[in-house]
Subunit: 154 residues, 2 copies
DNA sequence: CGCGCCTTTTACGTTTACGTCAATCCTATA
DNA sequence: TATAGGATTGACGTAAACGTAAAAGGCGCG
């Protein structure tokens, strides 16, 4: 099931780099395009999140893989674990309405949203406590640098 | 340098549990008092954050250890690493003004504060994106459940 | 005397998302 | 043909803060 000869793919990359309709890209180009490392792409594949075609041993990524990667990156951005992302993606069925997938996504999203809100509360709390401590420390420093000269209360 | 015999300490725990002025507490009581596990206390000691006395092999925690633990827990709460906490604590000198310690603490605090603020921005961002996605998904679900009956636009 | 409870040390396991070699292979190019 | 540039798999390393046995010692109580 060989779709493109390696020479052809390589030539394509060299000849018409702006001819946007390239079917396949190799891992290096894919990585640059989405700002991830090669390791990351291989890792995602290892975890079953991506499934690029192969030309021999060389990975070839298609539009489909790009769409999936975009979803992964979005998921990562909003704080889903890769496992969650995989769970949701695994439910995708191009021949159906994907109701189950959507419901799962919504369910997970609600939970994640509340997690994020809790996190934000924790961070706000931490910011408050830290600011307090900083005031105290600043005050201590003032006393320690200004007092030795004019200590009134002794 | 044995300060309290084991029998005495044990008796103390059994006889007068409410007599607040106990000099030493063992690891179990310490853990309960501060809501941490035994493992945590031993871990902190292993990392050089605590230094309880010993009666034989039994750890005995004093007021000083309690104060240090409080600081550790505060540091943890505001997001410092244990390493940071240790660095700051290590500068403590009961016979000086501790200016260096205070300056380091303030410096680290400023950095941590900006980290926290960045984190909060990221979280707010994530919340926004997630909310958007959820709207989209909800809309898709509506279309998939309501449309099959009355699809006007075909 | 045996039981249960507390304590000890040692040391490997957990989680997540990759980083960082290492050794090897293939290919286009000068 | 030598070399540089990508690509491959495999596998150990990292960070943080503990969790979780495992095996053993000590103590008071009934």
């Amino acid at each position: 099931m060989k779709l493109v000869s390696p020479g052809e793919a390589a030539a394509n990359t060299n000849d018409i780099p702006a001819e946007a309709d390239e079917e396949f890209v190799r891992i290096g180009e894919m990585a640059k395009k989405y700002g991830v490392t090669l390791r990351t792409l291989r890792f995602y594949e290892d975890k079953g999140l991506l499934n690029p075609h192969r030309d021999g041993s060389t990975r070839l990524y298609t539009r489909r893989d790009k769409a999936r990667l975009k979803l992964i990156l979005l998921g990562r951005k909003v704080g889903f674990s890769l496992r969650d992302v995989k769970q949701m993606m695994d439910l995708y069925d191009p021949s159906g309405t994907n109701t189950k997938q959507l419901r799962l996504a919504l369910d997970k999203s609600e939970k994640q949203l509340s997690r994020l809100q809790k996190q934000r509360a924790l961070i706000d709390d931490a910011i408050g406590e830290l600011s307090n401590s900083m005031s105290v420390v600043r005050q201590m420093l003032i006393e320690r640098t200004a007092a030795p000269q004019a200590s009134a209360a002794g």
